[in-house]
């Protein structure tokens, strides 16, 4: 153990990050009871095996392994066995962990667990399996890009400005070797901290018994969890990324970077809610849709990507309204500290229990509670007594003055590039404009 710690520290020193060990014990079960349906969801989480452990030359390694595991399950008939029980298998990859999840009828849950255990502990694959998985991954990359250009553009813009890794790179995918994959798989199964997220109508004792075969005789010594948090470049903007499109609607996004994951969430979350998160229509909706009629959809969301936190403001004007919208939204964001309506909205969030409550109740489902519990266990973000009502105007103002400034804004536009370039020249002459094809985002 001591040796492992030393090695871990040495590695972190070499790549410039400090480790933060999760307080989650190995084989811990996060459990929530839900009797609304006779279903059970079990997520087996390998903490530390996410894509943040990939070096830049191996972007996509964790995702490729998840694809490979899924394809092997399909090829070897395990997926059919699970489907026969009404169980769905998912293998999603996130920044910090790799997950194998099963979801289906509670009555068949025990059988499903055994199928998954037998499969993952006897994982065997060949070079041709890997080549097939890589081919499918390349197709997935292209399909995902076509279906969800916004997410990819956002990731690309952040990778160019903050130094986080790109999600996807066709070049890196092509270069992944059999040995890379083999090593990853070995480390995955021996991940130091593997834990479970369970939602079920079964009681917790039954669930613990069901999970026993997975934990029994499991070796450790594989991936170790670290929260990478390199120093972010403080001068990132104003930068605009433009991709050409001949649509009559222009997709406009402003990313306002605001620190690192694990920092206190109250301020960015409160500001995002005042502006208007999806479903709860705040200032943006009132001003840009109801008063100016410039957009159909507009909103604000508070997000994280890898270790970076940011607010994303979106709007969808028609081509003929795009100049007015971009100019007014830019002014609106830069002048937010002087906007009396913004301060009224903050006051309302602080003082009117109902207004704050509307947003909180979404967090109360067993599914959301479980998510929050795991997030807190991993990141341990600071919590304050009194929630929103304890946030002062001075704190909000200081936050705005620090982050809602031109130098901290990354903009993304999807529309006719000549039109957007002209608008930016007029209204954001200081912005550094990058034009790129959508395809280049995954190259």
């Amino acid at each position: 153990m001591f040796l492992k710690l030393m090695v871990s520290f040495a590695m972190c020193y070499a790549v410039g990050v400090l480790p933060t060990y999760a307080e989650i014990p190995n084989h811990h079960i996060f459990y929530r009871n839900d009797n609304r349906a006779p279903l059970t969801s079990i997520e087996i989480v390998f903490l530390g095996a996410g894509n943040n452990q990939e070096p830049p030359s191996q972007i996509g390694l964790a995702r490729t392994v998840s694809k490979l595991i899924w394809e092997l399950a399909k090829k070897q008939g395990h997926l059919d066995q699970l489907e026969a029980l009404g169980t769905r298998l998912n293998i999603p990859t996130s920044t910090l962990y790799q997950t194998i999840s099963i979801y289906g009828l509670s009555e068949n849950c025990g059988k499903s667990i055994k199928i998954v255990r037998d499969f993952i502990y006897n994982l065997e694959f060949s070079e041709s399996d890997l080549q097939d998985a890589k081919k499918l991954m390349a197709t997935d990359y292209e399909n995902d890009l076509r279906k969800n250009p916004r997410t990819h553009m956002r990731n690309f813009a952040l990778s160019q400005t903050t130094g986080i890794k790109k999600y996807k790179s066709l070049k890196a995918l092509k270069n992944l070797s059999f040995e890379d994959i083999r090593q990853y798989c070995d480390q995955l199964l021996k991940t130091d901290v593997m834990f479970f997220k369970v939602i079920s109508d079964l009681d917790s004792t039954e669930v613990a018994m069901l999970l026993h075969p997975i934990t029994e005789k499991r070796e450790t010594g594989g991936f170790v969890h670290t929260l990478g948090s390199p120093t972010m470049d403080s001068k990132i903007g104003p930068t605009a990324f433009v991709s050409d499109s001949n649509l009559k609607t222009v997709g406009c996004y402003w990313l306002i970077l605001c620190g690192m994951i694990g920092e206190e969430d109250y301020l960015p979350s409160m500001i995002s809610r005042a502006l208007g998160r999806s479903g709860a229509r705040g200032l943006l909706y009132k001003y840009f849709r109801e008063e100016l009629g410039l957009v159909y959809g507009t909103g604000s969301s508070y997000r994280t990507e890898e270790y970076v936190r940011f607010l994303e403001i979106s709007a969808d004007p028609q081509l003929q309204n795009s100049e007015e919208l971009i100019a007014k939204m830019s002014d609106f964001l830069r002048e937010l500290p002087d906007n009396p309506r913004f301060w009224e909205a903050i006051k309302e969030l602080r003082e009117n229990r109902n207004v704050a409550y509307a947003h909180v109740h979404e967090q109360l489902t067993p599914q959301r509670r479980l998510y929050s519990e795991v997030y807190r266990a991993i990141h341990n973000p600071p919590r304050r007594k009194g929630g929103y009502s304890s946030v002062t105007d001075e704190e909000v103002r200081a936050f705005l003055e620090k982050f809602f400034v031109s130098e901290n804004m990354v903009m993304i536009f999807r529309g006719r590039k000549d039109n957007i370039r002209e608008i930016l020249n007029t209204h954001w002459p200081e912005a550094e404009v990058h034009e790129q094809s959508l395809r280049s985002v995954i190259e």
């Binding site: 609304r36 279903l39 059919d80 009404g86 169980t87 009828l105 709860a280 159909y296 009117n352 409550y357």
Partner: protein, 490 residues
């Protein structure tokens, strides 16, 4: 004296019980350990479904009108969607005020128009039930439709329209359903010109005499007290008054159009990244036992291996492939949708579909059970999601007039047997019972082959003449050269 006492006794005992609420319980379905759905009639035009779910201290309050964009006249589509914006956005208040009220009370609101249903969604903390009914009632009786709100909303609807038109998938869906409903320019949002010319008088008339006259369903799911819900709905709607004289009747239910059955149609557009292929088979509506069998069949066709989907995607024939079963007013549809490279042969797709269907006629018991389990998992999953559960009640009400058909479907799914599958395939999944549509790009042919194929006879004649001229020239040259040589050597 006895008579007086008797009279008082009568007043005390009989009169308080003589108040008879208008609502009536007409059905109950146990959905799971915790959830029970109760179906009531509130008045002749309004039903309610209530499901108590105390997981979160909030409730959903949805109102479904059983009319949508497919119920509108040809050339006048877009009014229901426009009204949906006005009712949801403004209601009985001045512009922007309703949104403020909802936010101040910790709520959320939204609305949507689909083919046969228009829905209005409210979500509030549990102590705001009276407010939800008040908003719903005020919207129903007093929605403001004047010049100011109509002009403001036009800008927003036009922006929404331009955003939607950017999607090729939606475009192909509109063409497909235009064929099914027998409408040329099927678009629930209406054409740009039609939206621009909408005026408040016409819209008000349409609201009073068409939309408000449709049957409605209120769905309440959440942390509520059933008696309180019923009392408030009864207070608000038991004496429902509908003004207006010239009732606009629903157009004749001429859908689905049977003229398009058995046809394979195509439309081309110049700029399109992938060809969109859609095929649908007419099936019975929700409520018919075969509907459950078709849901199971859909699961089998879409499973990850040894299925229609895997045959399409794993072979590279299609970039993506999905199936769906849906219920519409008076009919149902099982359909498949694929995105393909432009050069993929659609005939090959049909061959694969036919082969897979043929294979399924001898489905095993294990395969059937697997599909049934998957379908049950999928249906039970919706019990975690109040929004999706409420929508299912709403759709069942609008398409088959019985919201409880949705939870009853679970029993039907359990009753499907192995021999139902070949019977269902033979009965419904036949080419003559289907409609196929592809949205693709115009075919590009090489210039020379195209000229050769289109002008074969003149080209052959010209080539023949050319050949003869060359041959003649060669002979003349040969004779001339021969004579010259002859002269030289003689």
């Amino acid at each position: 004296m006895k008579k007086i006492y008797a009279f008082i006794f009568f007043l005390v005992c009989v009169l308080p019980t003589s108040y008879c609420p208008a609502y009536q319980l007409i059905g109950t379905e146990v959905m799971s350990k915790e959830l029970v759905a109760q179906h009531y009639t509130i008045n002749s035009n309004l039903d309610a479904v209530i499901v108590v779910d105390r997981t979160i201290p909030t409730f959903e309050y949805h109102t479904y009108y059983s009319a949508g964009s497919a119920d509108e006249e040809e050339g006048k589509q877009g009014r229901v969607h426009f009204l949906e914006h006005l009712i949801s956005g403004t209601g009985s208040h001045e512009y922007g005020k309703l949104n403020q009220i909802v936010i101040e009370n910790g709520g959320q609101k939204s609305a949507a128009t689909s083919y046969h249903v228009t829905r209005f969604i409210l979500r509030f903390p549990k102590d705001k039930f009276d407010l939800a009914v008040e908003i719903d009632r005020d919207r129903y009786y007093d929605t403001v439709i004047n010049e100011e709100v109509v002009e403001k909303e036009k800008k927003i609807v036009l922006t929404e329209r331009s955003r939607r038109r950017a999607s090729a998938t939606r475009g192909s869906l509109n063409i497909f359903f235009g064929l099914i409903y027998g409408k040329k320019n099927f678009d629930g949002l209406g054409t740009e010109a039609f939206i621009k010319q909408l005026d408040p008088v016409d819209l008000k008339d349409y609201y009073e005499n068409f939309l408000r006259r449709q049957k409605r369903l209120v769905v309440v799911i959440g942390d509520v007290d059933i008696d309180h819900v019923l009392t408030k709905l009864d207070d608000a709607y038991s004496n429902e008054q509908i003004s207006g004289e010239s009732v606009i009747e629903l157009p004749d239910p001429h859908y689905p159009s049977y003229e398009v059955l058995g046809r394979r149609l195509k439309r081309t557009v110049k700029s399109l990244s992938l060809t969109r292929f859609r095929k649908g088979w007419y099936i019975p509506n929700l409520g018919h036992r075969d509907y459950a069998g078709l849901l199971i069949l859909e699961r089998i066709l879409e499973r990850s291996s040894n299925s229609l989907k895997s045959s399409m995607v794993d072979s590279g024939l299609a970039k993506s492939f999905s199936m769906s079963v849906n219920s519409y007013k008076g009919f149902g549809l099982i359909s498949c949708y694929a995105e393909l490279s432009h050069d993929t042969s659609r005939n090959k797709l049909h061959t694969v579909i036919d082969a897979e269907l043929e294979k399924l006629k001898s489905i095993s018991e294990a395969e059937l059970n697997a599909a049934r389990n998957q379908q049950l998992t999928s249906m039970y999953s919706a019990f975690y999601n109040r929004l999706s559960m409420a929508s299912s009640f709403g759709r069942a009400f609008a398409s088959a007039n019985d919201p409880l058909l949705y939870p009853k479907l679970i029993k039907d799914i359990e009753s499907i047997r192995r021999d139902d599958i070949p019977r269902i395939i033979n009965r419904y999944l036949r080419d003559y019972n289907s409609i196929t549509h592809s949205l693709t790009v115009p075919e590009k042919k090489e210039l020379l082959p195209r000229i050769l194929s289109e002008y074969r006879i003149p080209v052959l004649a010209l080539a023949g003449v050319g050949f003869l001229m060359l041959l003649g020239g060669f002979i003349v040259m040969l004779v001339w050269g021969g004579k010259k040589l002859h002269r030289k050597f003689s």
